[in-house]
């Protein structure tokens, strides 16, 4: 590889979404635009007695239809989602894989929870029956690198492969890593994240997060920016994208859906939400600077929207710090209030929504939220028509990461 090459720009040419509110970009966008909330009871076997009552589950996804049997048996649900989302993104990009140089397509994923369901099954085999009952695929299904590895093998992609094993903001870091990989000379990267953190033991592991909402009413469990904010609801799913060098994309006549213009990441400590104000503001400024974007060019913000009063306040203040006066006017939305937070998958789903919003000139609303107790123009109720040239996607993680991404509509 090389250092970053001048003049190379990364654009997004394919979108694949496997989200709680829709499998495939069309269904996802329809539900997102309508502000439909799909938060509901956790129905996974073994979760009945656990205190987490509400989550965003993917429905209408048929793994056996989406993934060949030989890949299915050796992978966890999180990798099923990732493989299926990658297929959708590649199909959307209409990439001719035959014509690519042998090391021309890389794979980058982010993972915050790994193959928990597969892992729990094998743990039960080991402790319930004995070491010889652990299957041969445990070594490759549970670990965080499973999705990148399997997407690379299944697609024949020999380019640079990477895995950001991170909290939520790591999703945006993975996208930024893909952008840098393109700028360092790889023409195409398949990038994204999908999570499946709802196996019983995975849920138990999340109960220690003080930010987790244990509310029982799906309409009130996750209400960011509202006076009734009481934490976040976890979710599964995510999105994968095809990111390409702009000139390669133009040469092959690809439909360029967005430019990945700027990104920056900072760290301010786990659950230190007041401190995240400075970290998020710093990340926004860094992303704007890389994108050569003035604050008043931002037409919409897809908020992190953690749903805790202190964290929500910090985010609103960070926007004011970084965008100045423009923060009063810029519309902010949080569609994830209707789907939950799919860890690293959450900012990927937001990125997909931001690209679709720019294409449709429509800001999707924040589901379930009616009252707002912070000083921001949060889009609620119905989608709002608006000319959108530039979108800002924000994400913060429970372990202390903050990240900002600037997306531009192609010119």
């Amino acid at each position: 590889m090389t250092a970053i090459l001048p003049g190379r720009r990364a654009v997004l040419t394919g979108i694949g979404v496997i989200a709680p509110n829709g499998v495939g970009a069309d269904d996802f966008w329809k539900a997102t635009r309508e502000g439909r909330s799909v938060l509901g009871p956790v129905t996974r076997e073994g979760c009945e007695q656990l205190p987490l009552k509400v989550a965003g589950q993917v429905s209408g996804f048929d793994a056996e239809e989406a993934v060949e049997g030989r890949y299915l048996v050796q992978t966890d649900r999180f990798t099923h989602y990732a493989m299926a989302a990658a297929d959708l993104a590649l199909e959307d990009a209409r990439l001719d894989r035959e014509g690519q140089p042998p090391f021309g397509i890389g794979v980058v994923t982010a993972a915050g929870s790994g193959g928990g369901e597969f892992g729990q099954r094998e743990l039960q085999q080991l402790w319930g029956q004995g070491p010889q009952f652990v299957g041969p695929y445990q070594s490759i299904a549970w670990f965080y690198a499973a999705s990148t590895g399997q997407i690379s093998i299944r697609g024949g992609f020999k380019g640079p492969c990477a895995v950001v094993a991170s909290d939520e903001a790591g999703g945006l870091d993975a996208l930024a890593h893909a952008v840098r990989t393109v700028r360092r000379g790889t023409d195409t990267v398949v990038v994204g994240a999908a999570e499946a953190p709802l196996a019983p033991y995975s849920v138990v592991c999340q109960l220690g997060y003080p930010e987790l909402s244990l509310a029982t009413d799906p309409e009130r469990a996750y209400l960011p920016f509202s006076p009734k904010a009481s934490g976040f609801v976890p979710a599964e799913g995510g999105a994968m994208f095809v990111v390409e060098d702009e000139s390669c994309a133009r040469q092959r006549g690809a439909r360029i859906r967005a430019e990945l213009a700027g990104h920056a990441a900072t760290f301010t400590g786990p659950s230190a939400w007041a401190a995240s104000r400075a970290g998020l503001a710093h990340a926004i400024r860094g992303a704007l600077e890389e994108a050569r974007c003035a604050p008043d060019e931002i037409d919409v913000v897809f908020a992190d929207a953690l749903g805790l009063p202190e964290a929500d306040r910090a985010e609103v203040l960070a926007l004011a710090d970084a965008l100045g006066e423009h923060a009063e006017f810029v519309p902010v939305t949080a569609p994830k209030a209707g789907t939950g937070r799919a860890y690293c998958g959450a900012p990927m789903i937001d990125t997909a929504a931001a690209v679709l919003a720019m294409e449709q000139s429509l800001i999707p609303p924040t589901p379930n939220v009616t009252e707002i107790c912070h000083d921001l123009d949060l889009v609620t109720g119905h989608a709002r028509a608006a000319e959108l040239r530039t979108a800002l996607v924000l994400s913060r993680g429970l372990m202390g990461s903050n990240a900002a991404l600037v997306l531009r509509r192609p010119y």
């Binding site: 080991l126 402790w127 870091d173 786990p270």
Partner: protein, 421 residues
């Protein structure tokens, strides 16, 4: 204007010795730290040997509260980071926290604690439904791999890009490679980069048992890890951590830091072949080597030492030998190439960082560490593997390679400090 990246500090927690001096003493003596597993009772497992760390967190300066909330692998990283910061002579309070990054790798993260607590909440595997009331309040830290970089970032006061990398057994090389890139790109001036893993637990031992990847030489653990030897029968699981302080060269010079070496280049590729299998030809690893060399502006013939992945599995050592020959040509036969896994085992995601730390020390001391236990040549592995004894050598450019589950192939090139770019 290219930004160059110096290594200014090293910290290590490895089997057979905690801290860089003890580690280096072990390597240059050619001693092995592999033994029967003591961290749990391995009766009933196929492979019952490992390279364990005799690690005392208190002796490494970690207080009780920190130890209580940190998994063993995180403790390794914290101890290694402290040592590296001291070695680099860094005054953390004087640094711009927004320009300080953290990039740490791990393959299996908190699995040891996850497994430990699993047995409590599941009635030792009796039920699929689990009882949350028996769970440890710190369990979410084991669940989130982000904990690794987060804990070290808090320790050193970093506010810049903080990232955990998890590409299986190339995690250590990749984490340091990405830290290098962060400085090269101008996203940070300093990076605490490395890796840690503590995978010696029943589930991980069982999963390598299941695919026959680990050595069964249970009656002779000291000689079980024998990379490149004709009688090798798999790797020996290890644990540990290593951290390098990476620093923009001008930044290091301005503060009068000792520059141990420079990172010249890094590359990684997938083989798109098999999650655990390797090709005969090693084309993808060779591509990683070629690109890392090009990035470093070093010709293959200028490499003075190759630090091998050398896991000691039949296929790996063959694959890697082919890849190095493909990239270095006839020069490969004249270049010492050794595997320190013969002494410290294979600590999965951590080992790439431990190996790079060994390379840095080799360049500083002008000594190539040996491949312990190498006795019987394998016709398919016909390079100079530095059998059993360390060897003095002037090292200008060093190559370290790694190969991991997922098909990942990575390479890092180190250059002697002060060699013009």
């Amino acid at each position: 204007m290219t930004r160059r990246v110096a290594v200014t500090g090293v910290g290590i927690v490895a089997p057979g010795g905690i801290g860089a001096p003890a580690f280096w003493e072990l390597l240059t003596a050619g001693r092995t730290a592999t033994r029967g597993i003591t961290l749990f009772d391995p009766a009933g497992f196929r492979s019952r040997i490992a390279a364990e760390c005799d690690f005392d967190p208190a002796a490494c300066g970690l207080d009780e509260a920190l130890v209580a909330r940190s998994d063993r692998y995180v403790q390794f990283a914290l101890a290694a980071a402290d040592e590296a910061v001291r070695h680099a002579g860094l005054d953390l309070a004087a640094l711009d926290p927004w320009r300080l990054a953290v990039s740490l790798g791990t393959a299996v993260g908190g699995t040891t604690r996850l497994e430990h607590d699993y047995t409590a909440v599941s009635g030792r595997g009796a039920h699929w439904a689990v009882d949350h009331r028996r769970a440890d309040p710190h369990l979410h830290r084991a669940f989130s791999p982000s904990t690794l970089a987060s804990a070290v970032a808090e320790r050193v006061g970093a506010r810049g890009p903080v990232q955990t990398v998890s590409t299986g057994c190339t995690s250590g090389l990749d984490a340091i490679g990405y830290g290098f890139q962060a400085i090269e790109d101008g996203r940070a001036d300093l990076c605490v980069a490395g890796a840690a893993d503590s995978p010696i637990s029943p589930i991980t031992v069982a999963c390598f048992d299941a695919i026959h990847a680990t050595s069964e030489r249970n009656d002779d653990p000291a000689h079980a890890s024998r990379p490149f030897d004709a009688d090798r029968d798999g790797f020996v699981l290890g644990e540990g951590g290593a951290v390098l302080i990476l620093e923009e060269l001008g930044h290091a010079r301005r503060r009068g830091a000792q520059v141990l070496c420079e990172i010249g280049g890094f590359a990684t590729f997938g083989n798109a072949y098999h999650m655990t299998g390797l090709t005969q030809e090693g084309r993808e690893m060779s591509e990683a080597i070629d690109r890392a060399l090009a990035h470093a502006r070093v010709d293959g013939s200028e490499i003075d030492y190759v630090n091998a992945h050398g896991s000691g599995t039949k296929q790996n050592d063959r694959h890697e030998t082919a890849a190095v020959k493909r990239s270095l040509g006839s020069h490969a036969y004249a270049t010492p190439m050794s595997s320190i896994k013969s002494m410290v085992g294979h600590s999965l995601g951590a080992i790439g960082a431990i190996e790079l730390a060994a390379c840095v020390l080799a360049m500083v001391h002008h000594v190539v560490p040996p491949t312990a236990n190498y006795e019987t040549p394998d016709p398919e592995c016909d390079l100079d593997y530095v059998p059993r004894e360390a060897r003095p050598a002037r090292l200008r450019n060093v190559l370290s390679v790694g190969s991991g589950f997922g098909g990942f192939q990575s390479a890092v090139v180190l250059k002697r400090a002060g060699v013009a770019a």
